[in-house]
């Protein structure tokens, strides 16, 4: 039961982080929150695998992803933030309050969706599927509604976190090379995105993606 309790606690934490992300206007906050999410996920991995008694490969993965997501990514993103000298998400396409309301709707949708999808057997927690779906949705919402390139990377990370979280619900783990591969991919992706943000800020003096609209077919 304790595992269940821990897992639930961590999931609720994840949920709260999602809501904070929806309402956060400062880029720094977003980066911090996504780091927190990474840390929570790493703990969740351990918790799901019977805590301290988890096999070594789980430990390896949990620690690896924890380090990457909670330490390395925030480091990249902060550096990019410093380069770009931007603090706030200005005038998002959907306001912060509205975003939170959308979050509520998304949560409801996730719960409904999860209820429609039967689970094959015992899962660590009934909350796991809805929360992971919710996290994916929140990530996508951030991607769609925010202007700054950095926030979009955050959104991407949140989506990945959601998917990762969903993966925890699987009765059987993905094989180690695949897990490592996934982690490496995401690592490389964020690394390259960081470089791109740096380039964008140099080229445009800003990382507002609203500037990135010169390639289009709309008759101007």
């Amino acid at each position: 039961m304790t595992a269940m309790f821990e897992i639930n606690t961590l999931l609720v934490g994840l949920l709260l982080v999602d809501f904070v992300l929806l309402g956060a206007s400062r880029l720094g906050t977003s980066v911090r929150q996504v780091a927190a999410q990474g840390a929570l996920l790493s703990l969740l991995t351990l918790a799901e695998h019977a805590g301290w008694g988890a096999p070594w490969r789980v430990w390896l993965l949990a620690l690896g992803s924890g380090v990457v997501k909670a330490v390395v990514f925030p480091y990249f993103l902060r550096r990019a933030l410093r380069e770009a000298d931007v603090r706030r998400e200005m005038a998002p396409y959907v306001g912060f309050t509205a975003s939170v309301l959308v979050g509520v709707a998304a949560l409801a949708a996730s719960l409904w969706l999860a209820s429609r999808l039967p689970l094959p057997g015992p899962v660590p927690s009934p909350l796991l599927v809805p929360v992971s779906l919710f996290t994916v949705l929140v990530g996508m919402f951030l991607l769609v509604s925010r202007r700054k390139a950095l926030t979009q990377v955050v959104g991407y990370l949140v989506v990945e976190n959601g998917v990762f979280c969903f993966g925890l619900a699987l009765p059987e783990d993905a094989p180690l090379p695949v897990e490592v591969g996934i982690l490496l991919d995401i690592f490389a992706a964020v690394f390259i995105m960081g470089i791109m943000i740096y380039q964008i800020s140099r080229e445009f003096d800003d990382i507002d993606t609203g500037r990135l609209t010169s390639l289009r077919d709309e008759a101007s």
């Binding site: 769609v144 202007r147 289009r216």
Partner: protein, 660 residues
């Protein structure tokens, strides 16, 4: 079959060799290849027409659903014959023409495409597999495109080529659908193994409709003809001759070939073809009347003649359905003979038009005139072509129209209801077409070759080289020969007619062919009598004028003493009464400043008759699509957030809609 394959090989070899050889030999090699190949091909075709058994070749071909099946049956041979007659004529002409116009220099792949065009047409006429047919069809169409755009530095040529390319491609799409549907219902794309006899009426009707659109586009039937009056004038004249003379016949061939594969035709197919033939015939000749450009005029006449051919086919189908073998046979025989005849006289006329354009530097009828004295050979050949296309005895155009008329008249003898209506409409339509064609070609010939030159260009024209005259002379001779030797030609068509009779469920047509042959023999007799009477009149006139004073003077100007060449009746004014009469159809736009006041200043007048189908149907359609697309292009606005939203929305919609 060996001769035929040799023909294909020689023609292609000539085309390829011309790419590889030096400037001086470029045209000669290709012309030699085409001439030699055509000779082989003609032999192969004539052998079958003379009664030899159908030759076939079937080689497996590692292409999905394809097989390399060729066969020359009488129908194929009948279409091959004009190809291999016209091709060498056009090639000899073209060799010299290109040399004079372009100095043999920058002619690029023109010969390669010419030979591909010829080979493409030949394979279309002989292919017995859908994939092979489509392949050849497209090689033919695309080669023609490159020939049409040969002078692509001119804007209007590019535009014309473009129209042609789109039209032919859209037409092909219908053919693809048709062949694949046939394959589904008939079990194979090999014509010989296709079993469509049991196809339901709805399916057969659909296939027929697809064939009419697809093949009608190539043939130039109204309303699918819009490319034709654009492309033919744009191409070099020997190419126009080939395209108009043979390539558009591929549409007729295809229609016939498919009709032979389909179940026995219901009545409405015949009526539809009669109606489309009439519309194309009358429409084509009317638009021809309103044109000022000689080659454009000829192009519209191709629409007209395709209409006549289709009318003949329609009469044939009506007869076949009504159980009137004579009607059917006369209709088919007329249509097929007209295919041959049109190839000859339209080829001749396009070559003549090319000679005129080359010598006078313009094709505008209102700037020509008086060329008959400057270019007597071209003038005489063009006159024979004009008389032939107007369907006048003793030339070949009359013979084929005579057969179609005879079919319609025979249908009018005993037909009832719709058959009778088709017969009456066919007869009256042919008569009207004939009358209007006469008006149009007296206009064309008169304003180009007769009277005084209307411009300095025309005044300084000189007769073209022998290599240009020779093909024209040969074609003119062929027009006369077929006109007088029609019974023999009909004998050569016995095999085709038997094939068609069998295909449409008619009894063996020996009796009908005998009837038609005897009628044609009478016609030939009448023609010979005519020649004798004319010869007599010539002798009488010569006799009467012998020793009398024959003087030259200015034309009687009804008292006006100082007429100028510009006061002659122009082509526009000649056609004006008819154009005016048919204004509701033609919608000719006139613009200019009329003379006014007691001492009028300079005045001007110009008129233009753009194609109504093009202007009223296709252009708005395409413009509308373009406008709609322009609005839809908003979708790609450059904002990444919305792009991601598409992704999310697609995902959610698919999940909610599809996953239940």
């Amino acid at each position: 079959m060996g001769a035929f394959l040799a023909a294909l090989g020689l023609v292609v070899a000539g085309g390829v060799a011309s790419l590889l050889t030096g400037r001086r030999w470029r045209s000669r090699v290709a012309v030699a290849g085409i001439a030699a190949g055509s000779l082989c091909g003609l032999l192969a075709a004539l052998r079958v027409l003379a009664g030899a058994a159908t030759v076939a070749l079937h080689v497996p071909w590692r292409v999905p659903y394809g097989s390399f099946s060729l066969a020359i049956d009488p129908l194929s041979a009948l279409f091959l014959a004009p190809l291999f007659v016209l091709a060498p004529a056009a090639a000899v002409y073209g060799g010299r023409y290109l040399e004079e116009e372009h100095g043999g220099g920058a002619i690029g792949g023109v010969w390669l495409f010419t030979s591909l065009l010829i080979v493409g047409i030949a394979v279309v006429f002989t292919a017995r597999n859908g994939v092979l047919f489509l392949l050849a069809w497209e090689v033919m169409s695309v080669a023609a495109y490159f020939l049409v755009t040969f002078e692509h530095h001119r804007d209007e040529v590019r535009e014309a080529g473009w129209t042609y390319l789109v039209a032919t491609h859209l037409g092909t799409a219908f053919l693809i659908a048709m062949f694949l549907l046939m394959a589904r219902a008939g079990g194979s794309l090999d014509f010989d193994r296709m079993r469509l006899g049991q196809a339901s009426p709805a399916l057969a009707g659909l296939l027929f409709g697809l064939a009419v659109v697809g093949f009608g586009t190539k043939a130039g039937l109204v309303p699918f003809h819009v490319w034709l009056p654009e492309a033919h004038p744009a191409a070099p004249s020997h190419v126009s001759a080939l395209m108009s003379g043979v390539m558009i016949k591929a549409g007729i061939y295809g229609l016939l070939r498919v009709l032979l594969l389909l179940p026995p035709p219901p009545a409405w197919w015949g009526w539809l073809l009669v109606a489309m033939g009439l519309v194309s015939g009358v429409g084509g000749v009317l638009y021809a009347l309103a044109q000022h450009d000689l080659k454009r005029l000829l192009a519209y006449h191709s629409v007209e003649n395709i209409g006549i051919i289709t009318l003949g086919l329609g009469v044939g189908l009506v007869g076949a359905h009504a159980g009137l073998p004579l009607v059917a046979l006369a209709g088919f025989a007329g249509a097929l003979l007209h295919v041959l005849n049109h190839a000859l006289f339209k080829g001749l006329l396009f070559l003549g038009a090319g000679a005129v354009a080359h010598a006078a530097g313009t094709r505008d009828l209102d700037h020509l005139g008086g060329l008959g004295k400057r270019m007597p050979w071209t003038g005489a050949a063009f006159l024979i072509g004009s008389a032939a296309i107007s369907g006048l005895p003793p030339l070949n155009g009359f013979v084929s129209e005579f057969l179609i008329y005879l079919g319609a008249a025979a249908a009018a003898l005993t037909g009832r209801g719709a058959t009778l209506a088709a017969a009456v409409a066919g007869g009256a339509g042919l008569a009207l077409i004939g009358g209007l064609a006469l008006a149009c070609f007296t206009k064309a010939f008169g304003s180009v070759f007769l009277g005084d030159p209307r411009s300095p260009h025309a005044a300084h024209a000189v007769e073209v080289a022998a290599a240009l005259r020779l093909p024209m002379a040969a074609l003119a001779a062929a027009c006369v020969a077929i006109g007088l030797g029609a019974p023999l030609v009909l004998t050569g068509m016995t095999g085709v007619l038997a094939q068609l009779a069998q295909g449409f469920g008619l009894p063996a047509p020996d009796a009908q062919i005998a009837t038609l042959r005897s009628a044609l023999a009478w016609v030939a007799l009448a023609s010979l009598t005519l020649l004798a009477a004319v010869a007599l009149a010539v002798l009488a006139r010569r006799f009467l004028l012998r020793g009398r004073t024959v003087t030259a003077a200015p034309t009687w100007g009804c008292g006006y003493a100082a007429p100028t060449a510009r006061m002659q009746y122009t082509a526009s004014s000649f056609a004006q009464p008819l154009v005016d009469l048919f204004r509701p159809v033609l919608r000719t736009a006139a613009f200019g400043t009329p003379p006014s006041g007691a001492f009028p200043g300079p005045a001007s007048f110009a008129s233009a008759t753009p194609d109504p189908v093009d202007r009223g149907l296709y252009r708005p359609l395409f413009a509308g699509a373009a406008a709609l697309f322009g609005r839809l292009r908003w979708v790609q606005h450059g904002r990444i957030q919305l792009y991601l939203l598409y992704l999310v929305a697609t995902l959610l919609i698919l999940l909610l809609w599809k996953v239940r």
